[in-house]
Protein backbone atom coordinates (compact mmCIF):
# COMPACT_ATOMS: atom_id res chain seq x y z
CA UNK A 1 0.00 0.00 0.00
CA UNK A 2 3.04 2.22 0.38
CA UNK A 3 3.16 2.92 -3.36
CA UNK A 4 -0.57 3.48 -3.68
CA UNK A 5 -0.63 7.24 -4.08
CA UNK A 6 2.31 7.47 -6.53
CA UNK A 7 0.83 4.60 -8.58
CA UNK A 8 -2.53 6.34 -8.82
CA UNK A 9 -0.87 9.57 -9.82
CA UNK A 10 1.28 7.78 -12.37
CA UNK A 11 -1.80 6.17 -13.93
CA UNK A 12 -3.50 9.55 -13.98
CA UNK A 13 -0.49 11.18 -15.64
CA UNK A 14 -0.11 8.49 -18.29
CA UNK A 15 -3.84 8.54 -19.07
CA UNK A 16 -3.90 12.34 -19.14
CA UNK A 17 -6.37 12.68 -16.29
CA UNK A 18 -4.41 15.34 -14.38
CA UNK A 19 -5.12 19.04 -14.50
CA UNK A 20 -2.39 21.22 -16.06
CA UNK A 21 -1.12 22.26 -12.59
CA UNK A 22 -1.04 18.67 -11.31
CA UNK A 23 0.64 17.60 -14.50
CA UNK A 24 3.33 20.21 -14.11
CA UNK A 25 4.07 19.26 -10.52
CA UNK A 26 4.18 15.57 -11.47
CA UNK A 27 6.64 16.36 -14.24
CA UNK A 28 8.91 18.06 -11.69
CA UNK A 29 8.96 14.82 -9.68
CA UNK A 30 9.45 12.90 -12.87
CA UNK A 31 12.60 14.78 -13.73
CA UNK A 32 14.16 13.74 -10.40
CA UNK A 33 13.03 10.14 -10.30
CA UNK A 34 14.61 7.89 -12.91
CA UNK A 35 12.57 4.83 -11.89
CA UNK A 36 9.31 6.74 -12.14
CA UNK A 37 10.37 8.12 -15.53
CA UNK A 38 10.95 4.62 -16.85
CA UNK A 39 7.61 3.39 -15.57
CA UNK A 40 5.83 6.30 -17.23
CA UNK A 41 7.65 5.65 -20.50
CA UNK A 42 6.75 1.97 -20.39
CA UNK A 43 3.07 2.63 -19.73
CA UNK A 44 2.96 5.28 -22.45
CA UNK A 45 4.52 2.85 -24.88
CA UNK A 46 1.99 0.22 -23.82
CA UNK A 47 -0.87 2.62 -24.47
CA UNK A 48 0.43 3.53 -27.89
CA UNK A 49 1.04 -0.12 -28.78
CA UNK A 50 -2.51 -1.07 -27.73
CA UNK A 51 -4.04 1.76 -29.77
CA UNK A 52 -1.95 0.79 -32.78
CA UNK A 53 -2.86 -2.90 -32.38
CA UNK A 54 -6.59 -2.22 -32.32
CA UNK A 55 -6.64 0.76 -34.69
CA UNK A 56 -7.96 3.10 -32.01
CA UNK A 57 -7.59 6.86 -32.20
CA UNK A 58 -5.22 8.42 -29.68
CA UNK A 59 -6.36 10.54 -26.78
CA UNK A 60 -5.28 13.90 -25.54
CA UNK A 61 -5.32 15.74 -22.28
CA UNK A 62 -8.43 15.97 -20.19
CA UNK A 63 -8.49 17.15 -16.64
CA UNK A 64 -9.91 15.15 -13.76
CA UNK A 65 -12.42 13.14 -15.69
CA UNK A 66 -14.60 16.01 -16.69
CA UNK A 67 -17.50 15.43 -19.01
CA UNK A 68 -16.03 16.89 -22.16
CA UNK A 69 -17.08 15.06 -25.33
CA UNK A 70 -14.53 12.65 -26.68
CA UNK A 71 -12.60 12.79 -28.85
CA UNK A 72 -12.48 16.56 -28.87
CA UNK A 73 -10.21 18.49 -31.23
CA UNK A 74 -7.84 19.00 -28.31
CA UNK A 75 -7.87 15.32 -27.47
CA UNK A 76 -6.79 14.44 -30.98
CA UNK A 77 -3.33 15.80 -30.29
CA UNK A 78 -1.81 12.46 -29.34
CA UNK A 79 -3.10 10.73 -32.44
CA UNK A 80 -1.68 13.56 -34.49
CA UNK A 81 1.65 12.95 -32.86
CA UNK A 82 1.55 9.19 -33.13
CA UNK A 83 -0.22 8.20 -36.29
CA UNK A 84 -0.70 10.21 -39.45
CA UNK A 85 -3.36 7.82 -40.73
CA UNK A 86 -5.31 7.98 -37.49
CA UNK A 87 -5.06 11.73 -37.64
CA UNK A 88 -6.41 11.74 -41.17
CA UNK A 89 -9.32 9.47 -40.30
CA UNK A 90 -9.79 10.47 -36.66
CA UNK A 91 -13.49 10.45 -35.91
CA UNK A 92 -14.88 13.33 -33.95
CA UNK A 93 -18.47 13.72 -32.79
CA UNK A 94 -18.59 17.17 -34.32
CA UNK A 95 -17.74 16.15 -37.86
CA UNK A 96 -20.21 17.55 -40.35
CA UNK A 97 -21.68 15.92 -43.44
CA UNK A 98 -19.30 17.60 -45.87
CA UNK A 99 -16.30 16.55 -43.81
CA UNK A 100 -17.72 13.04 -43.62
CA UNK A 101 -18.00 12.92 -47.42
CA UNK A 102 -14.35 13.90 -47.74
CA UNK A 103 -13.36 11.32 -45.17
CA UNK A 104 -15.25 8.61 -47.04
CA UNK A 105 -13.62 9.73 -50.29
CA UNK A 106 -10.18 9.62 -48.70
CA UNK A 107 -10.83 6.09 -47.44
CA UNK A 108 -10.81 4.81 -51.02
CA UNK A 109 -7.42 3.30 -51.90
CA UNK A 110 -7.29 5.02 -55.30
CA UNK A 111 -7.88 8.42 -53.73
CA UNK A 112 -5.27 7.78 -51.06
CA UNK A 113 -2.76 6.77 -53.71
CA UNK A 114 -3.53 9.93 -55.68
CA UNK A 115 -3.12 12.06 -52.56
CA UNK A 116 0.23 10.44 -51.83
CA UNK A 117 1.42 10.97 -55.41
CA UNK A 118 0.36 14.62 -55.34
CA UNK A 119 2.11 14.99 -52.00
CA UNK A 120 5.32 13.44 -53.29
CA UNK A 121 5.19 15.69 -56.36
CA UNK A 122 4.54 18.86 -54.41
CA UNK A 123 6.74 18.04 -51.44
CA UNK A 124 9.73 16.06 -52.68
CA UNK A 125 11.31 16.47 -49.26
CA UNK A 126 9.17 13.56 -48.05
CA UNK A 127 7.04 13.12 -44.97
CA UNK A 128 5.70 16.13 -43.12
CA UNK A 129 7.11 17.16 -39.78
CA UNK A 130 4.23 15.62 -37.76
CA UNK A 131 5.06 11.94 -38.46
CA UNK A 132 8.75 12.65 -37.94
CA UNK A 133 7.91 14.25 -34.60
CA UNK A 134 5.92 11.14 -33.66
CA UNK A 135 8.83 8.96 -34.73
CA UNK A 136 11.21 11.11 -32.69
CA UNK A 137 9.01 10.76 -29.59
CA UNK A 138 8.82 7.00 -30.03
CA UNK A 139 12.60 6.83 -30.33
CA UNK A 140 13.08 9.07 -27.31
CA UNK A 141 10.69 6.97 -25.17
CA UNK A 142 12.45 3.76 -26.17
CA UNK A 143 15.85 5.28 -25.46
CA UNK A 144 14.78 6.53 -22.03
CA UNK A 145 13.25 3.18 -21.15
CA UNK A 146 15.98 0.86 -22.37
CA UNK A 147 19.13 2.56 -23.53
CA UNK A 148 20.12 4.82 -20.71
CA UNK A 149 20.55 2.04 -18.14
CA UNK A 150 23.02 -0.83 -18.43
CA UNK A 151 20.56 -2.99 -16.42
CA UNK A 152 17.94 -2.98 -19.21
CA UNK A 153 17.01 -6.39 -20.53
CA UNK A 154 18.01 -6.89 -24.15
CA UNK A 155 16.78 -9.35 -26.74
CA UNK A 156 20.26 -9.44 -28.18
CA UNK A 157 23.27 -8.69 -26.06
CA UNK A 158 26.74 -8.61 -27.48
CA UNK A 159 29.15 -6.76 -29.63
CA UNK A 160 29.17 -8.68 -32.93
CA UNK A 161 27.25 -6.67 -35.49
CA UNK A 162 27.23 -9.49 -38.06
CA UNK A 163 25.35 -11.71 -35.56
CA UNK A 164 22.80 -8.97 -35.08
CA UNK A 165 22.19 -8.76 -38.82
CA UNK A 166 21.64 -12.52 -39.03
CA UNK A 167 19.37 -12.58 -35.99
CA UNK A 168 17.10 -9.79 -37.13
CA UNK A 169 15.78 -11.77 -40.07
CA UNK A 170 13.89 -10.69 -43.17
CA UNK A 171 11.90 -7.92 -41.50
CA UNK A 172 15.01 -5.76 -41.38
CA UNK A 173 17.14 -7.40 -44.07
CA UNK A 174 16.75 -4.55 -46.55
CA UNK A 175 18.10 -2.17 -43.94
CA UNK A 176 21.61 -3.68 -44.24
CA UNK A 177 21.87 -3.14 -40.53
CA UNK A 178 25.21 -4.45 -39.41
CA UNK A 179 27.21 -2.71 -42.12
CA UNK A 180 26.49 0.82 -41.05
CA UNK A 181 25.19 0.49 -37.51
CA UNK A 182 28.62 0.47 -35.91
CA UNK A 183 30.84 3.07 -37.52
CA UNK A 184 34.34 3.60 -36.24
CA UNK A 185 34.36 4.75 -32.63
CA UNK A 186 31.03 3.12 -31.74
CA UNK A 187 30.44 -0.30 -30.27
CA UNK A 188 27.28 -2.36 -30.24
CA UNK A 189 25.69 -3.08 -26.84
CA UNK A 190 22.80 -5.06 -28.24
CA UNK A 191 19.26 -4.64 -29.45
CA UNK A 192 15.73 -4.87 -28.14
CA UNK A 193 12.33 -5.30 -29.72
CA UNK A 194 10.16 -2.34 -28.73
CA UNK A 195 6.71 -1.05 -29.69
CA UNK A 196 7.10 1.34 -32.61
CA UNK A 197 4.74 3.82 -34.19
CA UNK A 198 2.59 1.20 -35.91
CA UNK A 199 4.03 -2.15 -34.97
CA UNK A 200 7.21 -3.71 -33.78
CA UNK A 201 10.47 -1.82 -34.04
CA UNK A 202 14.04 -2.64 -33.17
CA UNK A 203 16.12 -0.45 -30.90
CA UNK A 204 19.85 -0.82 -31.50
CA UNK A 205 21.94 0.26 -28.57
CA UNK A 206 25.37 1.67 -29.21
CA UNK A 207 27.95 3.34 -27.09
CA UNK A 208 31.04 5.40 -27.61
CA UNK A 209 33.73 6.18 -25.09
CA UNK A 210 33.65 9.82 -26.08
CA UNK A 211 29.90 10.24 -26.55
CA UNK A 212 28.18 7.77 -24.21
CA UNK A 213 25.05 5.74 -25.07
CA UNK A 214 22.99 6.08 -28.25
CA UNK A 215 19.78 4.39 -29.40
CA UNK A 216 18.79 3.83 -33.02
CA UNK A 217 15.14 2.88 -33.44
CA UNK A 218 14.27 1.34 -36.80
CA UNK A 219 10.76 0.45 -37.91
CA UNK A 220 9.46 -0.67 -41.30
CA UNK A 221 6.89 2.00 -42.12
CA UNK A 222 4.38 2.66 -44.82
CA UNK A 223 6.02 6.04 -45.23
CA UNK A 224 7.69 8.05 -47.97
CA UNK A 225 10.88 6.27 -48.92
CA UNK A 226 13.06 9.19 -48.01
CA UNK A 227 12.74 12.31 -45.93
CA UNK A 228 15.18 14.92 -44.71
CA UNK A 229 16.83 14.40 -41.33
CA UNK A 230 15.12 16.42 -38.64
CA UNK A 231 17.20 16.95 -35.52
CA UNK A 232 15.56 18.41 -32.44
CA UNK A 233 16.04 18.62 -28.68
CA UNK A 234 13.48 16.51 -26.82
CA UNK A 235 13.27 16.17 -23.04
CA UNK A 236 16.94 16.85 -22.40
CA UNK A 237 18.02 14.66 -25.29
CA UNK A 238 18.74 15.11 -28.97
CA UNK A 239 16.68 13.07 -31.40
CA UNK A 240 17.03 12.78 -35.17
CA UNK A 241 14.09 11.39 -37.16
CA UNK A 242 13.90 10.53 -40.84
CA UNK A 243 12.93 7.80 -43.28
CA UNK A 244 15.05 5.89 -45.78
CA UNK A 245 14.00 3.07 -48.09
CA UNK A 246 10.62 2.83 -46.33
CA UNK A 247 12.18 2.46 -42.88
CA UNK A 248 11.59 5.00 -40.14
CA UNK A 249 14.68 5.95 -38.14
CA UNK A 250 14.86 7.72 -34.79
CA UNK A 251 18.34 8.27 -33.40
CA UNK A 252 18.27 9.34 -29.75
CA UNK A 253 21.06 10.22 -27.38
CA UNK A 254 22.21 12.69 -24.75
CA UNK A 255 22.36 16.30 -25.91
CA UNK A 256 26.12 16.33 -26.27
CA UNK A 257 26.50 16.10 -30.02
CA UNK A 258 26.56 12.30 -30.04
CA UNK A 259 23.57 11.98 -32.39
CA UNK A 260 25.07 14.33 -34.96
CA UNK A 261 28.44 12.60 -34.62
CA UNK A 262 26.91 9.16 -35.18
CA UNK A 263 24.92 10.34 -38.22
CA UNK A 264 28.08 11.74 -39.75
CA UNK A 265 30.14 8.67 -38.88
CA UNK A 266 27.50 6.27 -40.23
CA UNK A 267 27.19 8.32 -43.41
CA UNK A 268 23.58 9.45 -43.20
CA UNK A 269 23.13 12.66 -45.11
CA UNK A 270 19.91 14.50 -45.88
CA UNK A 271 19.08 12.32 -48.85
CA UNK A 272 21.71 9.61 -48.75
CA UNK A 273 22.07 6.07 -47.54
CA UNK A 274 25.34 5.16 -45.84
CA UNK A 275 28.07 3.76 -47.97
CA UNK A 276 28.53 0.22 -46.78
CA UNK A 277 31.85 -0.38 -45.17
CA UNK A 278 33.12 -3.87 -46.10
CA UNK A 279 35.10 -4.09 -42.88
Amino acid sequence: MKDRVPAVETHAYVDKCLSPEERKSFEVRLSHDEELRRRVDLWQMQNEAIRAAFGAPGRGSRANGNSAPLPSPASASLSERTDPHLRLFAKTPTVNRAAQKWTNLLRRPATRLAVVLIGVTLFPGGMSSAPRAALAETGASAFRAFASSPASSLDFAGRASADLGRALGPQFTAADLPEWATPLGWTLRGAKRVPGLHGEAILILLESEARGPLGVLIEPLDAPASSAIRIEPLGGMTVAAFTRRGYGFAVAGPADGGVEAWLAAAGFTDDGWPEIDPR
Partner: protein
Protein backbone atom coordinates in the same frame (compact mmCIF):
# COMPACT_ATOMS: atom_id res chain seq x y z
CA UNK B 1 -39.23 -0.85 -30.67
CA UNK B 2 -37.48 1.21 -33.29
CA UNK B 3 -33.91 2.27 -32.69
CA UNK B 4 -33.08 5.81 -33.74
CA UNK B 5 -30.31 6.18 -36.27
CA UNK B 6 -26.97 7.22 -34.85
CA UNK B 7 -24.03 8.71 -36.61
CA UNK B 8 -21.47 6.09 -37.56
CA UNK B 9 -18.78 8.18 -35.95
CA UNK B 10 -20.57 8.21 -32.62
CA UNK B 11 -20.24 4.46 -32.36
CA UNK B 12 -16.77 4.02 -33.77
CA UNK B 13 -15.03 4.24 -30.39
CA UNK B 14 -17.44 1.72 -28.90
CA UNK B 15 -16.94 -0.57 -31.87
CA UNK B 16 -13.16 -0.32 -31.53
CA UNK B 17 -13.36 -0.94 -27.77
CA UNK B 18 -15.77 -3.82 -28.34
CA UNK B 19 -13.54 -5.50 -30.90
CA UNK B 20 -10.65 -5.35 -28.44
CA UNK B 21 -12.52 -6.45 -25.33
CA UNK B 22 -14.47 -9.42 -26.71
CA UNK B 23 -11.33 -11.28 -27.68
CA UNK B 24 -10.48 -13.66 -24.88
CA UNK B 25 -7.66 -16.13 -24.50
CA UNK B 26 -10.07 -18.97 -23.76
CA UNK B 27 -12.29 -18.34 -26.72
CA UNK B 28 -11.55 -18.66 -30.39
CA UNK B 29 -13.47 -16.18 -32.51
CA UNK B 30 -12.87 -15.49 -36.16
CA UNK B 31 -12.81 -11.92 -37.43
CA UNK B 32 -16.35 -12.35 -38.78
CA UNK B 33 -17.57 -13.72 -35.45
CA UNK B 34 -15.98 -10.80 -33.61
CA UNK B 35 -17.67 -8.32 -35.94
CA UNK B 36 -21.04 -10.04 -35.63
CA UNK B 37 -20.82 -10.29 -31.85
CA UNK B 38 -19.78 -6.64 -31.42
CA UNK B 39 -22.50 -5.43 -33.80
CA UNK B 40 -25.11 -7.49 -31.96
CA UNK B 41 -24.01 -6.21 -28.54
CA UNK B 42 -23.95 -2.62 -29.80
CA UNK B 43 -27.45 -3.01 -31.26
CA UNK B 44 -28.72 -4.31 -27.91
CA UNK B 45 -26.84 -1.67 -25.93
CA UNK B 46 -28.22 1.14 -28.07
CA UNK B 47 -31.86 0.36 -27.34
CA UNK B 48 -33.25 3.37 -25.54
CA UNK B 49 -29.87 5.08 -25.26
CA UNK B 50 -29.42 6.92 -28.54
CA UNK B 51 -31.40 10.13 -28.75
CA UNK B 52 -33.49 11.05 -31.75
CA UNK B 53 -30.95 13.66 -32.75
CA UNK B 54 -28.50 10.88 -33.39
CA UNK B 55 -25.78 12.59 -31.41
CA UNK B 56 -24.60 10.72 -28.37
CA UNK B 57 -23.62 13.06 -25.62
CA UNK B 58 -20.93 12.25 -23.11
CA UNK B 59 -23.39 10.98 -20.52
CA UNK B 60 -25.11 8.80 -23.04
CA UNK B 61 -21.79 7.48 -24.21
CA UNK B 62 -20.94 6.40 -20.66
CA UNK B 63 -24.29 4.63 -20.40
CA UNK B 64 -23.77 3.00 -23.78
CA UNK B 65 -20.35 1.65 -22.81
CA UNK B 66 -21.75 0.50 -19.48
CA UNK B 67 -24.55 -1.42 -21.18
CA UNK B 68 -22.13 -2.91 -23.66
CA UNK B 69 -19.89 -4.11 -20.82
CA UNK B 70 -22.88 -5.66 -19.02
CA UNK B 71 -24.14 -7.39 -22.13
CA UNK B 72 -20.72 -8.73 -22.95
CA UNK B 73 -20.21 -10.04 -19.42
CA UNK B 74 -23.55 -11.79 -19.67
CA UNK B 75 -22.50 -13.29 -22.98
CA UNK B 76 -19.13 -14.39 -21.54
CA UNK B 77 -20.79 -16.00 -18.52
CA UNK B 78 -23.20 -17.85 -20.77
CA UNK B 79 -20.34 -19.09 -22.93
CA UNK B 80 -18.46 -20.33 -19.89
CA UNK B 81 -21.58 -22.09 -18.63
CA UNK B 82 -22.00 -23.80 -21.97
CA UNK B 83 -18.31 -24.55 -22.16
CA UNK B 84 -18.50 -27.18 -24.84
CA UNK B 85 -20.53 -25.02 -27.19
CA UNK B 86 -19.71 -21.56 -28.41
CA UNK B 87 -16.12 -22.40 -29.21
CA UNK B 88 -14.44 -21.93 -25.80
CA UNK B 89 -11.03 -23.42 -26.27
CA UNK B 90 -7.75 -23.95 -24.48
CA UNK B 91 -6.45 -20.53 -25.45
CA UNK B 92 -4.32 -21.48 -28.40
CA UNK B 93 -2.77 -18.38 -29.93
CA UNK B 94 -4.47 -17.00 -33.01
CA UNK B 95 -2.25 -17.35 -36.05
CA UNK B 96 -0.80 -14.06 -37.21
CA UNK B 97 -2.09 -12.17 -34.20
CA UNK B 98 0.23 -9.44 -33.05
CA UNK B 99 1.95 -9.83 -29.73
CA UNK B 100 0.29 -6.79 -28.21
CA UNK B 101 -3.19 -7.96 -29.20
CA UNK B 102 -2.45 -11.45 -27.91
CA UNK B 103 -1.20 -10.07 -24.59
CA UNK B 104 -4.33 -7.97 -24.17
CA UNK B 105 -6.44 -11.00 -25.04
CA UNK B 106 -4.68 -12.93 -22.28
CA UNK B 107 -5.69 -10.46 -19.57
CA UNK B 108 -8.59 -11.39 -17.29
CA UNK B 109 -11.82 -9.80 -18.50
CA UNK B 110 -12.17 -7.28 -15.66
CA UNK B 111 -8.58 -6.07 -16.12
CA UNK B 112 -9.01 -5.94 -19.88
CA UNK B 113 -12.17 -3.86 -19.53
CA UNK B 114 -10.50 -1.38 -17.19
CA UNK B 115 -7.44 -0.94 -19.38
CA UNK B 116 -9.29 -0.68 -22.69
CA UNK B 117 -11.90 1.75 -21.40
CA UNK B 118 -9.09 4.15 -20.63
CA UNK B 119 -6.74 3.47 -23.52
CA UNK B 120 -9.22 2.89 -26.34
CA UNK B 121 -12.49 4.30 -24.98
CA UNK B 122 -10.70 7.44 -23.84
CA UNK B 123 -12.55 7.59 -20.52
CA UNK B 124 -11.14 9.32 -17.49
CA UNK B 125 -10.56 7.00 -14.53
CA UNK B 126 -13.65 8.14 -12.64
CA UNK B 127 -15.85 7.68 -15.69
CA UNK B 128 -14.39 4.27 -16.44
CA UNK B 129 -15.08 3.17 -12.86
CA UNK B 130 -18.64 4.37 -13.34
CA UNK B 131 -18.98 2.41 -16.57
CA UNK B 132 -17.82 -0.72 -14.79
CA UNK B 133 -19.96 -0.04 -11.73
CA UNK B 134 -17.06 -0.26 -9.29
CA UNK B 135 -15.29 2.09 -6.88
CA UNK B 136 -12.33 4.17 -8.01
CA UNK B 137 -10.07 2.19 -5.70
CA UNK B 138 -11.18 -1.11 -7.26
CA UNK B 139 -10.68 0.40 -10.68
CA UNK B 140 -7.07 1.38 -9.90
CA UNK B 141 -6.40 -2.12 -8.60
CA UNK B 142 -7.54 -3.58 -11.89
CA UNK B 143 -5.67 -1.03 -13.99
CA UNK B 144 -2.50 -1.56 -11.98
CA UNK B 145 -2.66 -5.33 -12.37
CA UNK B 146 -3.46 -5.07 -16.06
CA UNK B 147 -0.44 -2.87 -16.73
CA UNK B 148 1.88 -4.98 -14.61
CA UNK B 149 0.73 -8.15 -16.35
CA UNK B 150 0.99 -6.58 -19.77
CA UNK B 151 4.55 -5.45 -19.05
CA UNK B 152 5.46 -9.03 -18.23
CA UNK B 153 3.68 -10.42 -21.30
CA UNK B 154 5.32 -7.89 -23.59
CA UNK B 155 8.70 -8.44 -21.94
CA UNK B 156 8.97 -4.77 -21.17
CA UNK B 157 10.24 -5.21 -17.64
CA UNK B 158 13.50 -3.42 -17.21
CA UNK B 159 15.18 -5.21 -14.35
CA UNK B 160 16.09 -8.50 -16.05
CA UNK B 161 19.69 -9.31 -16.71
CA UNK B 162 20.73 -9.42 -20.36
CA UNK B 163 21.30 -12.86 -21.81
CA UNK B 164 24.59 -13.76 -23.44
CA UNK B 165 24.52 -13.23 -27.19
CA UNK B 166 24.74 -16.86 -28.28
CA UNK B 167 21.96 -17.98 -25.94
CA UNK B 168 19.50 -15.28 -26.89
CA UNK B 169 16.52 -16.28 -29.05
CA UNK B 170 16.17 -15.05 -32.60
CA UNK B 171 13.98 -12.04 -33.20
CA UNK B 172 10.46 -13.10 -34.01
CA UNK B 173 9.20 -12.00 -37.39
CA UNK B 174 6.14 -9.80 -37.23
CA UNK B 175 3.79 -10.29 -40.15
Amino acid sequence: MSIPEADFDDLSLLRCFGRAVVRDERQFLTETQVTQLVDRLIRQARVGVVAGSGRIERRRQTTLFSRFVDLHRRYARRCMAEENDAGWSDGAPVRGERKVAASVRALPLEQREALLLVVIGGFAHREAAEVLGISLSQFFDRLDRARARLSTCLDLEINDQPEPWDKSPHLRIVK
